[in-house]
C-alpha cells in the first residue's frame, strides 16, 4: 500500500519535473561565466586545467569551506564512535603469505600514483581530493590484506593539521601580499609545465595530504567497529 502511494506520488512529481526540464536545451553551452573562465583562465591563473583554476583560484574560499566540512565530518565521526567501549581483542587469523606479500608489494605503488595525481592537478584531470582518496585506498588495502597493521593515528593527525594549516597560511600570505584572501602571489610560470600556476600546486599538495589522512582516519574508525 505504501509502495503504491509512493509510486503515484513520484509519477505526479515526474510529470511536473519533465514539463520544466524539457524546456532546458541539452548539449548547448549555457553560462557566460564558464566561457569567461575558459578564455581567461590560463593567463590569469597559469593553470592549464580550468576546473582546477576555478576550484582553487576563482573559488578558493569555497574549497576552504569544503575542506572544513570534510574535517568536521571526520571529527564528528571520531567523536561519535569514540564513546563506544571497545570489545576485547578479537582473534584474527593472519592472512596467507600470497595476500600479505601482494599488498605489501602494491602499497608503495598506490601511494606513488596518488601523489602523482595530486602533483599534476593543475595539468591533467585530478587534484588533491582525488589523489587523497587514492592514498586512502592504499591504506584500505592494507587493512583488508594484512589485517594486523593499524595506522599511526598521531602521525595522521599531524599530517591532517599541517595540510589545513598550509592552506590557511597561504591564504593569509596572499592577503598580505596582494590585498585579498588566497591571492595568487607566486610567479605563474609557463603554462603546461609542472612549476606553473603559482600557489595552486602547493595548495593541492596540502589538500592531498589532508584528504588522504582524513579518509584514512574514517576508514580506521569504521574498521575498528566491524
Amino acid at each position: 500500500m505504501r509502495k503504491i502511494i509512493a509510486i503515484i506520488l513520484l509519477f505526479i512529481l515526474s510529470f511536473a519535473v519533465l514539463s520544466s526540464i524539457s524546456k532546458i536545451p541539452f548539449g548547448i553551452s549555457k553560462t557566460k561565466v564558464g566561457k569567461y573562465y575558459i578564455n581567461n583562465g590560463i593567463e590569469q591563473t597559469g593553470a592549464v586545467n580550468i576546473v582546477t583554476s576555478v576550484v582553487l583560484n576563482y573559488r578558493g574560499m569555497d574549497t576552504l569551506g569544503e575542506v572544513t566540512v570534510l574535517f568536521i565530518g571526520a571529527i564528528g565521526l571520531m567523536a561519535i564512535l569514540s564513546t563506544i567501549t571497545r570489545k576485547t581483542e578479537k582473534k584474527l587469523t593472519p592472512s596467507s603469505s600470497i595476500l600479505s606479500t601482494g599488498c605489501k608489494f602494491l602499497f608503495p605503488f598506490i601511494l606513488l600514483f596518488g601523489s602523482y595525481i595530486f602533483l599534476n592537478g593543475h595539468l591533467s584531470p585530478g587534484g588533491g581530493f582525488q589523489g587523497g582518496a587514492i592514498i586512502a585506498s592504499a591504506f584500505l588495502l592494507k587493512y583488508l590484506g594484512c589485517y594486523e597493521k593499524r595506522i599511526n593515528e598521531k602521525k595522521f593527525k599531524v599530517a591532517e593539521s599541517l595540510g589545513g594549516l598550509v592552506f590557511i597560511l597561504i591564504g593569509i600570505s596572499g592577503l598580505i601580499a596582494g590585498g585579498y584572501f588566497l591571492f595568487n602571489f607566486l610567479p605563474k610560470g609557463t603554462a603546461g609545465t609542472l612549476l606553473s600556476g603559482g600557489i595552486i600546486p602547493i595548495i593541492y599538495i596540502a589538500i592531498g595530504f589532508k584528504v588522504g589522512a582524513e579518509i584514512s582516519g574514517i576508514i580506521d574508525n569504521l574498521m575498528e567497529e566491524s
Partner: protein, 119 residues
C-alpha cells in the same frame, strides 16, 4: 522517440533521484535509507554534469595547445560537483557512524521499533 533522444540524460538523472526518494519513502531500515540518500546524491551530481555538457566538446583542459576554447564543456558545474562529492562523502560517513551508535543503543535499525524517535 525524439523527445527521449533529446532528454535521455535528464531522464536518467531524475530517474536516479526518484529511485532514491522511493527508497526513502518505503524502507524502514536505516542503512537502506542512507543508501537511498546516496543514490539521490549521485543523481543530483549527474544532473549538474548533464546541464554543463556540450555536444562533441572536450574537457576544459588545455593539454594540447591547438584545442579550441570555444568547444569546451562548462568548468563551473564540474568544480561545483567536485565540492558536492566530497561533502556527500562526509555526510555518508557521519550518517553511518550515527547508525552504528543507534544500533548499539537500541539493538535495532528499524525506525518503527525505536520508540523514542516518534514525535
Amino acid at each position: 522517440m525524439n523527445f527521449l533522444f533529446n532528454n535521455i540524460y535528464y531522464i536518467g538523472s531524475f530517474g536516479l533521484i526518484f529511485i532514491g526518494l522511493f527508497i526513502l519513502m518505503t524502507k524502514h531500515n536505516l542503512i537502506k535509507m542512507i543508501i537511498g540518500l546516496n543514490i539521490m546524491d549521485t543523481g543530483i551530481n549527474l544532473l549538474f554534469i548533464t546541464i554543463g555538457y556540450v555536444r562533441k566538446a572536450t574537457a576544459p583542459i588545455f593539454s594540447k595547445p591547438d584545442l579550441n576554447p570555444q568547444n569546451m564543456v562548462d568548468p563551473v558545474v564540474q568544480a561545483l560537483i567536485l565540492t558536492a562529492i566530497v561533502i556527500g562523502l562526509a555526510v555518508l560517513a557521519m550518517a553511518l557512524s550515527l547508525s552504528i551508535r543507534i544500533y548499539q543503543f537500541y539493538g535495532t535499525l528499524d525506525i518503527r521499533k525505536i520508540k523514542e524517535q516518534k514525535w
